[in-house]
């Protein structure tokens, strides 16, 4: 039997054209579709949360609101709160995890154009003396340094001090308290102050004036190009003269940070003000594509925030904000959620 090779090849060609065209059309059709983001909650903790609120939809996109009552954050009472040094200790399993939906802040300028973080997982524990929250969200690109046009990942808890305080930073006469954690501050604490050398290891400055003057006045020869220099001399007047933020007492310019969390008071947009004496503490760790951050606050009855949290007949509420540094989130360009009910145990 002879085979006509030419006929065979033409046959393949004839069959191949419609197959190729169909494949191209399919690809074009799929590529022109808007990407659909589907969240598949995994893990036992989320299931617990979903059980507590059968209407909760953890696949929320922007602007979508869950049907039914909003998820409630339960502050579980334990005999002793775990140390915030390790955000992954098993004690946290005692607290049910709730996924709170986030959306881009588009109420007051500067606004966040589009969301890159869609949920934040919240747990809460307390003992007699302290209250703590564990917050966790997905972030493939951890950002823990700052430079011009580069920003740090952050998370903040907001708690009202009075009934009906607006959930975006409070309002005039309607104060709120905030506790903000920054990845940059965490790095300052874990690895030492993030100096010029941390960003640019090969950077070299021939002369810092304060180095010369410091060497003569303080009587210690120093090398201002080393990161240790800041830690050593930042409190000396002679160096502070060239560290204007430090000498002005700007909390952003703190060279000897002891906690990666800052407490703030606010009464509306643009009013967030550093609370100098705080019982806030915390720690955040980035692992396997997620930030996990523990923020804690002392329960001192003389503190207005504690008084509110422990007050009788108070419907406690919590609101959160997450900043994705690598997407240019800064200040008001953030993800937030409205007040969510929080039940103290």
């Amino acid at each position: 039997m002879t085979r006509n090779n030419n006929t065979l090849q033409i046959g393949w060609l004839v069959a191949g054209i419609p197959i190729t065209v169909a494949a191209m059309l399919t690809v074009l059709f799929l590529a022109s579709r808007r990407p659909t983001v589907v969240f598949v909650p995994t893990g036992s903790q989320v299931e617990i949360a979903a059980d507590s609120n059968p209407n909760m939809d953890s696949g929320l996109g922007i602007g979508a609101q869950p049907a039914g009552p909003p998820p409630e954050v339960k502050v579980v009472r334990v005999p002793a709160l775990p140390s915030s040094d390790d955000p992954f200790v098993v004690d946290w399993d005692k607290s049910p995890a709730v996924e709170l939906p986030l959306q881009p802040q588009q109420t007051a300028p500067p606004m966040l154009d589009s969301a890159t973080v869609f949920n934040v997982r919240v747990q809460a524990l307390r003992d007699e003396k302290r209250i703590a929250w564990r917050l966790s969200w997905a972030d493939d690109t951890p950002s823990s340094n700052v430079e011009v046009s580069q920003f740090s990942d952050q998370v903040a808890i907001q708690l009202p001090l009075v009934d009906n305080a607006p959930f975006l930073m409070g309002g005039k006469g309607q104060p709120v308290r905030l506790m903000q954690w920054k990845a940059l501050w965490q790095k300052d604490i874990d690895e030492g102050f993030q100096d010029v050398k941390a960003l640019y290891p090969n950077a070299w400055c021939d002369l810092y004036w304060f180095d010369q003057i410091g060497a003569t006045k303080i009587g210690s020869p120093s090398d201002s190009n080393t990161p240790e220099f800041i830690a050593k001399f930042a409190n000396e007047d002679i160096a502070r003269q060239w560290l204007i933020g430090v000498s002005a007492g700007n909390p952003m310019s703190e060279q000897h940070r002891v906690q990666p969390v800052e407490e703030l008071a606010a009464e509306g947009f643009g009013t967030a003000t550093h609370v100098p004496t705080t019982t806030c503490a915390g720690r955040g760790v980035w692992r396997e594509g997620r930030w996990t951050v523990v923020i804690e606050h002392g329960l001192d009855p003389t503190d207005p925030l504690t008084a509110r949290l422990l007050g009788s007949n108070v419907q406690n509420q919590i609101s959160l904000a997450v900043w994705d540094g690598s997407s240019g989130n800064t200040g008001g360009r953030k993800h937030w959620c409205p007040w969510m009910p929080m039940k103290m145990q």
Binding site: V148, Y208, G245, A248
Partner: protein, 376 residues
């Protein structure tokens, strides 16, 4: 959004805040024809104000070579690319300012974020001419290729974009002299000002983690002294003073006279709508088209006026007072061929003859019985 008048664009424009203009407005005139790009101003400023840690690439004052230079790199080109082109009808702008740009998702003022590496090349394009000079060009009387030095500081704008952009109101314009300052205690380093300033004259300090900008040498201004970049200028290209704001402009105020009455010095990119207060005498040898882009309408008239200075004693007198005193001259007069300047306390602080006196020394010094000659 409230509206306010902007004399530089000949119309009302939008600006987020209302408020009276300052009592008087700090202002500067830079004569680009005299600048040799020596960077003495840059060094004077840097040595005094920004020699700390985190300020390694911060230059409140810089001198860049146009057309190719720019610090941070492409500060102007990036904004010109993103912003609709300026359209002037006579002296009136009918295109939009950065406060009126509502086309994108962003709330005005519109701006762009420079990258860290953009600050790493303050000398990029320095001394480069606009194009290749042809062989033999240097034998001819005219040089068709051009460049010029443009010294730049904060413009202490009438309508500062940095003030408009700061969500914390941590930037303010002083009511006494219009100097724009960043509150070093309140700034939380959001960098909205860095993005908004069309001139990119607000900087982010990576060590203090707050924004910083030219402070207009306010501790000196409060003592009646000119800014360090002005005093140190060896080419005497700069004048530092005040524009009248709440009262009508005065002819005996050199700033008012040059900027408001004669319009010899022009604002830098007035189309952005910030009302900048550094005014430039345009370089004579640079094509009008390029200068129109930077300084708006009025370049041709200014050049004509500058060429005619020798027949214009009052204007010439005002220019003679550039760099003539470390004190701020608030009043001046021309008596014969001498320009005289007074400070705020009415003390005479400068007296400059139009023509420097010439002293002739005879070849033979009789007293010392020696011949003078000019070789060592």
């Amino acid at each position: 959004m409230p509206k306010r008048g902007n004399w530089q664009i000949g119309r009302q424009q939008e600006y987020p805040y209302e408020g009276a203009p300052p009592k008087r407005q700090v202002a500067y005139i830079f004569d680009t024809n005299k600048c040799i790009g020596c960077q003495t101003c840059t060094v004077a400023c840097k040595t005094c104000w920004t020699s700390g840690k985190g300020e390694e690439t911060i230059f409140w004052n810089n001198v860049e070579t146009k057309p190719y230079g720019g610090y941070p790199v492409g500060w102007d080109l990036n904004l010109l690319r993103e912003h609709p082109p300026a359209r002037w009808q006579g002296k009136q702008l009918y295109s939009i300012t950065i406060f009126e740009n509502k086309s994108g998702a962003e709330t005005p003022p519109s701006g762009h974020r420079p990258k860290s590496e953009d600050y790493a090349h303050p000398n990029l394009g320095e001394d480069d001419i606009a194009g290749m000079a042809e062989l033999g060009n240097h034998f001819g009387p005219d040089h068709p290729m051009w460049m010029f030095y443009m010294a730049r500081i904060c413009n202490h704008c009438d309508n500062p974009a940095c003030v408009a952009a700061c969500p914390r109101k941590a930037i303010y314009k002083r009511p006494e002299d219009g100097i724009v300052l960043v509150d070093q205690e309140r700034c939380r380093g959001y960098q909205e000002c860095v993005k908004a300033c069309p001139y990119k004259k607000v900087f982010y300090n990576i060590v203090s983690r707050a924004s910083q900008k030219c402070i207009g040498c306010y501790p000196r201004v409060e003592q009646g002294l000119v800014a360090l970049c002005v005093e140190s200028c060896i080419g005497k290209i700069r004048m530092h003073g005040f524009l009248s704001t709440q009262e009508p402009p005065r002819e005996d105020n050199p700033l008012d006279y040059i900027v408001k009455f004669r319009k010899l010095a022009l604002p830098i990119y007035p189309q952005f709508g910030t009302g900048p207060n550094v005014f430039y005498i345009p370089p004579l040898h640079v094509p009008d088209g390029f200068l129109d882009m930077i300084f708006g309408p009025g370049v041709e008239e200014a050049k004509k006026m500058y060429r005619n200075l020798k027949n214009d004693p009052l204007l010439l007198g005002a220019l003679m007072l550039f760099g003539a005193s470390p004190q701020i001259i608030t009043r001046y007069a021309v008596e014969g061929e001498v320009a005289i300047g007074w400070n705020d306390k009415n003390e005479e602080v400068a007296r400059v003859p139009f023509v420097e006196p010439v002293y002739e020394r005879p070849h033979f010094d009789k007293d010392r019985e020696v011949y003078r000659h000019n070789t060592a």
